[in-house]
Subunit: 80 residues, 2 copies
């Protein structure tokens, strides 16, 4: 089963990387660009075929490795 | 208008970051994890309200700044 995980900074957490992108876009002449936030996107292939078990396993991966849950949110999407 | 951009490595391009995640998951005891690929996820707010114009603008941003089109693909999603 394939899964997609989005790891994004929680609202209120400063995002210097997003800010840098916003500034670079402005410097390149793009107008009307507001808030920019950058997150991570992880695609993974797992052997587990049961959707519930797969989600539980990936949730564990997020908490243990993929996301820093103090400042980041994660979102799991399963491709059936 | 809000937009989401995914920037991912093209198929065939080595992904050491994804590989490192895969190895770390294995080291943590997760079994049955296959290929892992890591990409970038960028959320941006733009003033443009016409979907076609917005998409064209963001496409230009991707080519000029957000993605390295030699090795990366990008995917644009507009939140209406």
């Amino acid at each position: 089963m394939k899964a997609k995980v989005h790891v994004t900074l929680k609202a209120g957490v400063l995002d210097p990387q997003g800010k840098a992108i916003g500034n670079a876009l402005a410097a390149l002449g793009f107008k009307g660009v507001g808030d920019v936030r950058q997150g991570k996107f992880i695609e993974l292939e797992i052997d587990e075929t049961d959707p519930d078990a797969a989600r539980a396993q990936i949730e564990k991966m997020c908490v243990q490795l993929l996301a820093n849950t103090v400042i980041e949110n994660y979102d799991i999407e399963l491709d059936r």
